[in-house]
């Protein structure tokens, strides 16, 4: 079964450093998302991306965050200057097409620890 793959699985970074989390969505999917989950809390939406531009972003997704689809397969989340409260599991997700299906498929996550 096709799956969303994410790298790294775990990253430890110092406060103030830049971090890039990488994702390879399912190949024929057109909609891409980043969510995050702080330990023990619910999954929260960060941003959705379609046709090479951001479609929607939450209040969490401030100026320190950015997303990019640099080529036909990768989808990245950059955190410019990490803060302690950015420590969380970050999930990439994708969906095929609005008409063809509603299911959003999640990757296994990238665990970010900011120290």
């Amino acid at each position: 079964e096709p799956e969303v793959t994410q790298t790294p699985s775990h990253q430890v970074t110092q406060m103030g450093q830049e971090v890039i989390l990488r994702c390879v969505p399912i190949s024929n999917h057109l909609y891409f998302y980043w969510y995050r989950q702080i330990l023990g809390q619910k999954v929260e939406f960060l941003v959705s991306f379609y046709n090479n531009e951001i479609s929607e972003k939450s209040e969490i997704f401030d100026d320190q965050f950015s997303v990019e689809r640099p080529d036909g397969s990768n989808f990245t989340l950059k955190i410019r200057s990490t803060k302690l409260e950015d420590s969380a599991m970050y999930f990439c997700a994708s969906r095929v097409d609005r008409a063809l299906g509603n299911t959003i498929y999640f990757g296994e996550g990238s665990w970010l620890t900011v120290v």
Partner: protein, 116 residues
């Protein structure tokens, strides 16, 4: 603003029993209600989903009951098994509305433990 409220926070059920998790929503624009299952260290995986034009959907041991007038929906796990022990999240989205692209609003999760 909590768009989707989920209860209970944790649930302990004996093997073979019925697990019931409840969710309530406020936004009547929601038109897609999935349930996700999450094992430790893994991403959420879609378990079952329902649209508001039906009141119940069953897939194997998993059933969603949907009450549109009450703005509530619930997950029933029949014949619960130890392998069902996981965190369950309800969610809601507006799949067919403008530019929202099906953003999921998650409940806070229910940690289910099934004792053998």
């Amino acid at each position: 603003q909590q768009q989707v409220k989920q209860s209970p926070q944790s649930l302990i059920v004996q093997k073979g029993g019925i697990s019931i998790i409840n969710c309530a929503y406020e936004n009547t624009a929601f038109d897609y209600f999935p349930w996700y299952q999450q094992f430790p260290g893994k991403g959420p995986a879609l378990l079952i989903a329902i649209r508001p034009d039906v009141s119940e959907k069953k897939e194997g041991r998993f059933t969603i009951s949907f009450n549109k007038s009450a703005k509530q929906f619930s997950l029933h796990i029949m014949d619960s098994q130890p392998g069902d022990s996981a965190t369950y999240f309800c969610a809601a989205s507006m799949v067919d509305r403008g530019s929202t692209l099906g953003r999921l609003y998650f409940g806070r999760g229910t940690q289910l433990t099934v004792w053998p």
